[in-house]
């Protein structure tokens, strides 16, 4: 019981303990300040032997872990446990967390450790002190999930869920929400398993009713469990995904839409591209009007112009009747190809080559020039250098042809890339290159008058 009162005091003094290595002048803290001071401490009161040995032991454990000497680390850990009897209450308080962190790490990697050992260790650690119960329970459950012990994990989380200590602090609340959400996720796994079974059963079968009934039970519990957490700002992709899937399955489209909209547009949440992707996919499944889809993707375009959905966005825009949509379609393609990871995206080049011709034929030279102006001083080196011409031709001739066409249109016949590709003599692509040459003659923006 003494632990309890100590930990209450602890919560107040935690702050000044944290400051332990702040150097007054700069506000920056240096974990290595103690070492420097240690070298000059000659006289005065020294640390107690006990404190010296435990801190030495701690560094041995850390060193052994970093050298992957699990056996050695385990041996040191055995000795380190004495810190739980330290007379310094600060250290005694901090000890369980350190022991859990290092101990679980050793047991996770040690080739001779097994699930029982880990479980025993986790159960013991949960009950040393009261501050770590929730954290350790959660991690223990994750360990069990990782090892496929879903039922055990579920039981663990259920225990933790009902656990309360003292006043309900905000951090405790978040942890409990998180525990419930993971529990919900486990229930979702069971549910989706049942769903899979159900799909194999005949609807008239007797078993079908029982199975669908139990599925329904699960979904109810799950929605309660998942609902609370996804209101809290954060990244909750797996929870949102499974929650929406269940809602959709039971026809609660409005509920699902609300969850997704909230997840994507709530300003307190980080701008998570996946939130928009999920919303877009949901709307697509729902067969929402094109306007709606475009408005969702427009926001995604602003966050991640390099997303692979941008090509889909371009297709939507291209088909749109609105002029500014079609203009945006060009912008989106240029935007995708700005990024280093997309330079070899053949679809994007194909789209751009095709769309450029289409737009130029539609007399929208100004659109192209607008996009090109901000890129003309770096795209030639970035995409159309002779290095890339050789490299692309060697690696992917189709890509080289698409790029050559775009290069020819944007830079004229004289550009290095186009000249290199057009000079190549390839049996298969001869016709294509000829067509490219003709397109460039007709559409190049360099000499539009000619």
């Amino acid at each position: 019981m003494s632990d309890f009162s100590e930990e209450l005091i602890e919560s107040k003094t935690e702050d000044d303990q944290e400051e332990s290595y702040v150097f007054s002048g700069t506000g920056m803290s240096f974990p290595w300040l103690q070492n420097h001071i240690g070298t000059i401490a000659t006289g005065g009161k020294k640390e107690k032997d006990f404190a010296q040995t435990t801190s030495a032991c701690l560094s041995f454990i850390q060193e052994a872990l970093l050298k992957h000497q699990w056996q050695q680390a385990a041996e040191y850990m055995h000795s380190y446990l004495q810190i739980l009897e330290d007379s310094d209450s600060h250290k005694r308080q901090a000890a369980p967390e350190i022991i859990w962190k290092l101990g679980s790490e050793i047991l996770f990697y040690h080739p001779k450790s097994n699930m029982e050992t880990f479980n025993t260790f986790a159960d013991r650690m949960k009950n040393i002190g009261v501050m770590n119960y929730l954290k350790i329970s959660l991690q223990h459950a994750l360990y069990l999930v990782h090892h496929g012990m879903l039922e055990d994990a579920n039981r663990n989380l259920s225990h933790a869920e009902t656990w309360r200590y003292g006043e309900k602090s905000s951090s405790q609340e978040v942890l409990i929400n998180l525990i419930q959400a993971y529990k919900g996720l486990l229930q979702y796994y069971t549910w989706s398993k049942k769903k899979l079974e159900l799909s194999t059963l005949d609807e008239d079968d007797y078993a079908y009713n029982a199975a669908s009934q139990s599925m329904l039970n699960h979904s109810c519990k799950t929605s309660v469990n998942l609902g609370a957490l996804i209101q809290t700002p954060g990244v909750w992709d797996p929870f949102v995904k499974s929650y929406v899937e269940m809602l959709e399955f039971y026809g609660d489209r409005d509920g699902a839409r609300e969850v997704l909209t909230n997840y994507a547009y709530d300003e307190k949440f980080p701008s998570n591209p996946n939130a928009h992707v999920y919303l877009y996919n949901f709307l697509k499944r729902e067969k929402a009007p094109r306007e709606k889809l475009i408005s969702v993707l427009k926001i995604l375009y602003q966050i991640v112009p390099s997303h692979k959905l941008m090509l889909e966005f371009h297709s939507l825009l291209r088909k749109s009747e609105k002029e500014d949509h079609r203009k945006l379609g060009l912008e989106v393609l240029f935007g995708v190809l700005d990024f280093a990871g997309c330079t070899k995206n053949i679809t994007a080049w194909k789209y751009l080559a095709k769309y450029l011709r289409q737009i130029l034929m539609g007399n929208h030279l100004a659109w192209v020039q607008e996009e090109w102006n901000s890129r003309k001083n770096w795209w030639p080196d970035f995409h159309f250098s002779s290095f890339w011409a050789k490299n692309d031709w060697k690696e992917d001739k189709t890509l080289a042809c698409e790029k050559a066409l775009v290069a020819g249109i944007l830079l004229g016949k004289g550009c290095r890339y186009f000249r290199f590709i057009s000079k190549q003599d390839d049996e298969v692509l001869r016709k294509k290159i000829k067509r490219i040459k003709k397109s460039v003659e007709n559409h190049s923006i360099v000499n539009p008058g000619l």
């Binding site: 974990p31 000059i40 790490e105 879903l150 989706s192 809290t232 990871g341 080196d381 970035f382």
Partner: protein, 864 residues
């Protein structure tokens, strides 16, 4: 580009650093990162083995890295340590360690070392308050102090760290008299400035960000096995060297040929290299200049423009996308982009820090997946800035705050774009951000929320990182993290395409150069210590390469130390580390140890750095004086002193040739004879008679007058003082008994420029009677530090000469000695004894020893 289809659950909380009511979800251990949530159950139900294929271990081939090149010819000084800067007295253990800058020690060091500057003008003013020798009855005033007795009192005084130092009433009076005048002016003028300077030095000791990014680069050659190391060399790090290195599959790296070099006009702080579209570029950052070279296929650098950064450059990066593009950031808060087409353009400027107010002017800039978008970082956060957009706007990529669960006092030390690594980047949008506590991976498509956080627990500042290509196709990518004191961490990153980046396996620590000590032969303590210092020198650069990407996974790692050494080590990827309990331990090969002893031999040939001038101390004056008077044989202590000064072991040759070979210097028998005679006498009970005899003999052939005797004693004190001067070079200075650089004092002290004022002080009509005392006094003060022996000899040579003439003579000698300001004391002594011998009797000529050999100490009374 693929974005991870499902991100790991993370709480997002806005707020300042160290917000305590947020549960830090990264409280979880590193294994948490290995955990995976099954996407959907059916596929993953059988995924269960506790040891996945992600267990990776790089096994070092030797217990530590080995030097690649012989040590450079320039000596290296480790610089100030915490011991030099912090207050050491009465330190009590406390939970919160506190660093207190010791201004008083530095101030008193200044007073000792440069007493002439500090005190001479005041001393001149106070001349009337001193009673010099022979003027006993002149004044009875309390404001007049007798110099002689003051000196006697001072003789036993240990100026530092002696709690039982006895204060005589004379000293007290002197200090009362002189204290306010002497102390205040210097302290008030210097104190504040000194404190400021010490604070800067201390901060630098805790974190020296000048070399952020690293000053060592590997420029790949035509094959992966051959390349060039580019690094600064020379004592000032202003020589940019290009060393061709070949990596063989059998063992060590070989340096081919002598390195080519380019002499620069400032110290090199950072060397960056990038190969873009087959074109290799090399950028170098100095304090106020940045330069760019294009390296040809043959490895020849061709200069491109040099940029001047007036406020001081803090970071330089080369574009991974476009050849020749360069981002430079300066202490003024400006970030400039240099492109071959448009030249230099400022893309961002903000003298303030990004997130909250921080005094550091360190800035950093790097590229992103978009060639026209840069990251701009400072200690508080990292921002993404579009160089084509309106100025000043941008999006925070990383915020030092609750979003990343930062601790109180946490600051960004390094940011790096990881997408540039060829062949296929992990995620071309990932950025590495290192603080003193943790490592973060942030995706620029999801700002503020770190994709990965790992507590690196490095005991010094992580300032270098390098992401390497996978050692085997399909393997996770090694990420190397290097810290200032040589600590290394190797992490493995996996997660491509639709999966989020995560750590594969437990991170690993690699041996640092101080682990190589065991490869060197055991030495005598002083050289051992020097070697240890050399191996412990802070790291200033890191480069790694995987030379055989196709066949065997071997990692070649180079580390550049501040002493100019490059250490190399090879690591081999272990086949199945999961099966072993004990990680295997490497051992030294005979070739390695042989190489190390050769290297060591070369290192010990490098002269130790010239020491800072050490002040004379008074502590051993009496002791040595007695010793010398009694023994009469001077070779021993002198040899000892010389050996100590030179930092060598005392050997027979230091003690001079064997007694028989030496011409008898004096009629006295040797010390053994003396001892045996004394013992004999004692046995026979005739000790008193022997003593009488001995007294008679040692007081010289002719009994001098009383005053003569006094003078003799003084001058012998003097010679012992000069001896002590030598000795003080070898022992540590008085005020820091545990100061950590014995070799820093091993050379004779450098003569400071002599000061006319001090000469004039005793030249101004001081009665010749008092001059001797005054000279003695001055010789003991630091201001007399230049060639006290010379003064002594010249004076003792010419007792009959006019004081004025000898004075002018000495003055001339001194001015003649001035131009080479760093003449050693020994040299000065020799030259003056030579000049004096011209004036003196021919018998003195024996004392003029050719310089270079140890000058023979003359007997104090021989001049009389």
């Amino acid at each position: 580009m693929d974005f991870p289809s499902s991100l790991r659950p993370t709480l997002f909380m806005a707020g300042p650093l160290g917000l305590s009511n947020v549960p830090d979800l990264s409280f979880m251990c590193s294994w948490r990162d290995a955990l995976m949530l099954p996407e959907s159950l059916p596929e993953n139900s059988e995924n269960g083995g506790p040891h996945m294929a992600t267990q990776l271990l790089w096994e070092p081939e030797t217990p530590g890295p080995l030097p690649l090149l012989p040590p450079g010819p320039d000596p290296w000084d480790p610089g100030v340590t915490a011991q030099d800067l912090l207050f050491r007295g009465g330190f009590t253990f406390r939970r919160k360690p506190r660093a207190v800058l010791d201004v008083t020690e530095q101030l008193s060091r200044f007073l000792w070392d440069h007493g002439d500057i500090a005190f001479a003008p005041l001393g001149k003013l106070m001349l009337e308050n001193f009673k010099l020798e022979g003027a006993r009855s002149r004044s009875k005033k309390k404001t007049v102090v007798s110099v002689k007795s003051l000196l006697q009192d001072l003789g036993g005084h240990q100026p530092w760290g002696c709690p039982w130092a006895f204060l005589s009433y004379r000293q007290r009076r002197f200090s009362i008299l002189g204290g306010p005048v002497l102390g205040k002016s210097v302290a008030s003028l210097l104190g504040e400035l000194l404190h400021e300077e010490l604070a800067v030095r201390w901060e630098q000791l805790l974190l020296d960000d000048a070399f952020t990014g690293g000053a060592l680069a590997w420029v790949p050659g035509r094959t992966p096995q051959v390349g060039q190391l580019v690094y600064p060399a020379g004592g000032a790090l202003d020589k940019l060297c290009f060393q061709e290195v070949s990596l063989t599959s059998s063992g060590a790296a070989q340096a081919l040929r002598d390195p080519g070099h380019i002499q620069l006009r400032g110290p090199v702080r950072q060397v960056v290299t990038r190969t873009v579209q087959g074109e290799t570029l090399l950028a170098v950052r100095s304090d106020y200049h940045c330069a760019l070279w294009k390296v040809s296929k043959q490895g020849q650098p061709a200069p491109l423009p040099v940029l001047q950064v007036r406020k001081g450059a803090t970071g330089i990066s080369l574009s991974p996308h476009l050849p020749g593009e360069l981002a430079v950031c300066s202490r003024s808060g400006a970030v400039c982009l240099w492109t071959p087409q448009d030249g230099l353009q400022q893309v961002y400027k903000d003298p303030e820090t990004l997130v909250f107010c921080d005094h550091s002017s360190w800035r950093w800039a790097d590229f992103t997946a978009h060639p026209r978008v840069l990251t701009v970082g400072d200690r508080t956060g990292v921002k993404i800035v579009d160089t084509q957009g309106p100025p000043g706007c941008g999006l925070l990529l990383f915020r030092g705050g609750a979003e990343a669960s930062c601790q109180k006092g946490e600051r960004v030390l390094l940011t790096q774009y990881l997408g540039a690594c060829s062949p296929e980047p992990l995620h071309p949008t990932l950025h590495l951000i290192c603080t003193q506590f943790s490592l973060y991976l942030v995706d620029e498509r999801l700002p503020l929320v770190p994709m990965l956080k790992w507590n690196h627990e490095l005991p010094s500042a992580p300032l270098w990182a390098q992401l390497l290509p996978p050692p085997r196709p399909g393997c996770p990518r090694p990420l190397l993290l290097g810290a200032q004191r040589g600590h290394l961490r190797l992490l493995h990153l996996t997660g491509e395409g639709a999966s989020a980046p995560r750590l594969a396996g437990h991170p690993q620590s690699l041996p640092s150069s101080s682990d190589s000590l065991s490869a060197f032969p055991l030495l005598e303590p002083k050289s051992q210590w020097r070697l240890q210092e050399r191996l412990k020198a802070p790291t200033i650069g890191l480069a790694a390469t995987i030379p055989f990407p196709a066949s065997e996974p071997v990692l070649s790692l180079f580390q550049l130390s501040a002493a100019g050494d490059i250490f190399h080590q090879r690591l081999r990827l272990q086949a199945d580390p999961g099966a072993t309990l004990h990680a295997p331990t490497a051992s030294w090969t005979p070739q390695a140890t042989a190489f190390c002893s050769r290297w060591l031999k070369a290192l010990l040939k490098v002269p130790p750095p010239p020491p800072v001038w050490a002040a004379p101390t008074f502590s051993h004056r009496r002791l040595l004086g007695c010793m010398e008077q009694r023994t009469g044989e001077h070779k021993g202590p002198e040899g000892l002193r010389a050996a100590m000064a030179g930092g060598r072991l005392l050997q027979q040759r230091d003690l001079g040739p064997l007694p028989s070979a030496e011409p008898p210097p004096a009629p006295e028998p040797g010390p053994e004879d003396e001892l045996s005679a004394r013992l004999e006498a004692a046995w026979e009970g005739q000790m008193a008679a022997w003593w009488e005899r001995q007294q008679g003999r040692s007081s010289g052939p002719s009994r001098p007058s009383k005053r003569h005797k006094r003078r003799t004693q003084l001058s012998s004190t003097f010679s012992s003082l000069s001896g002590r001067l030598d000795l003080s070079d070898a022992i540590s200075p008085p005020h820091s008994p545990d100061r950590a650089s014995p070799e820093a004092k091993s050379q004779p002290p450098v003569t400071p420029p002599s000061h006319e004022s001090t000469q004039e002080l005793w030249a101004q009509g001081v009665p010749s009677e008092r001059q001797q005392t005054l000279r003695d006094y001055m010789a003991k003060l630091p201001l007399g530090g230049d060639s006290p022996r010379g003064v002594c000899s010249s004076l003792s040579q010419s007792p009959s000469l006019q004081a004025t003439s000898s004075r002018s003579q000495t003055l001339q000698e001194r001015t003649a000695e001035l131009p080479p300001r760093r003449t050693t004391l020994r040299g000065a002594a020799v030259s003056s004894s030579q000049t004096s011998s011209l004036r003196a009797t021919p018998s003195r000529q024996r004392a003029s020893v050719p310089s270079g050999s140890q000058p023979q100490r003359k007997k104090p009374r021989m001049g009389f």
